[in-house]
């Protein structure tokens, strides 16, 4: 599947979905004017991708790296949407790992990470602190 890349903007994160390498990345701040318009196409692409992985589970895990400094509630909703899909794929036998990167002392992002972690059982969810 074609790699999906969007540059980081002041209000939207960098997106790098390198499907063939099973590496997905979201990085930056997220409070787009229209969260549905921004995340809709990403989620649609993810759905098509997960469908393929379910049919042919790869040997190596699918890894999603999130490194976010701030996001609004509409974006949080979109992340939850993505996580629910990944967890469902993991339950169907696709190996999934989500890495939640947050800066030391960033209480908000740490708390969000701890919150989101509770939604994963089949998929692995790691909290990764950086300086």
């Amino acid at each position: 599947m074609d790699r999906l890349q969007l540059p980081q903007t002041e209000r939207s994160p960098l997106v790098d979905f390198d499907f063939d390498r099973q590496r997905l990345r979201l990085e930056g701040e997220s409070y787009p004017e229209d969260a549905a318009a921004f995340f809709g196409p990403l989620i649609a692409a993810l759905d098509r991708y997960l469908e393929r992985l379910r049919a042919e589970p790869p040997a190596a895990p699918l890894i999603l790296d999130l490194r976010l400094a701030y996001f609004n509630s509409s974006s949080a909703k979109a992340f939850m949407n993505i996580f629910q899909r990944l967890e469902a794929a993991a339950r169907d036998g696709v190996e999934v790992q989500v890495n939640w990167h947050y800066q030391t002392d960033d209480e908000t992002m740490m708390e969000f990470g701890e919150d989101f972690r509770e939604d994963f059982q089949a998929a692995r969810f790691e909290l990764c602190v950086f300086d």
């Binding site: 002041e10 209000r11 409070y31 004017e33 229209d34 969260a35 701030y70 609004n72 509630s73 509409s74 949080a76 909703k77 939850m80 629910q84 002392d105 960033d106 209480e107 908000t108 919150d115 509770e118 939604d119």
Partner: protein, 184 residues
């Protein structure tokens, strides 16, 4: 009263209340962005704790997006992209102990009552209950007719370090003025 005295009076009264900035009129996503940048810059220059800055900014964004989405006074582009401008009031300030973010806008009376109901419910919750409620709402499919306000309101209540304050006052048979104040 001269024009200078008249506006000095406005200026002075705002300063006395600790206002950092106040905006009245039509807001758009572009204005949200610019005001948000100014706010972050001001807080950085004053070396405000990064976690406090994030909380203030987060509440500010949710408050302004609520005005943009729910104000009953709004302008739509005739055609093309759905550019929206909605009228409201945004005030960010600081008193002796806390930052505060206030937003006000006109709402339909029925919507206003509904909003007040949701906020009454939130105001009765302790921080742990708010956190659990937020997680529940995050997992739910979007409500019918809603564009995500309830999760935004919960986010405001959650980031606020003191209980949120809010009120509704009737304007006429159909409309009311709604306002919400959060402290950080």
């Amino acid at each position: 009263m001269s024009i200078a005295t008249q506006y000095l009076d406005v200026h002075q009264r705002m300063r006395d209340q600790g206002v950092i900035f106040s905006f009245v009129g039509y807001v758009s996503e572009g204005i949200l962005f610019s005001l948000g940048e100014a706010l972050k810059q001001k807080m950085r220059l004053e070396e405000t704790d990064a976690n406090v800055t994030k909380r203030v900014f987060s509440i500010f964004v949710e408050q302004v997006q609520n005005i943009i989405r729910y104000s009953a006074e709004r302008l739509h582009a005739e055609s093309g992209t759905p550019t929206e401008m909605s009228s409201g009031l945004i005030t960010v300030g600081r008193d002796a102990t806390h930052f505060f973010v206030v937003c006000g806008n006109i709402v339909g009376r029925a919507e206003g009552e509904d909003l007040r109901g949701r906020l009454d419910e939130l105001a009765r919750m302790d921080p742990d209950t708010i956190k659990t409620y937020y997680r529940e709402k995050l997992r739910e499919p979007p409500e019918e007719g809603s564009r995500g306000a309830s999760i935004g309101l919960i986010e405001i209540a959650r980031r606020s370090t003191r209980p949120i304050e809010f009120g509704l006052t009737e304007l006429d048979a159909d409309r009311a003025f709604f306002c919400l104040k959060a402290y950080i």
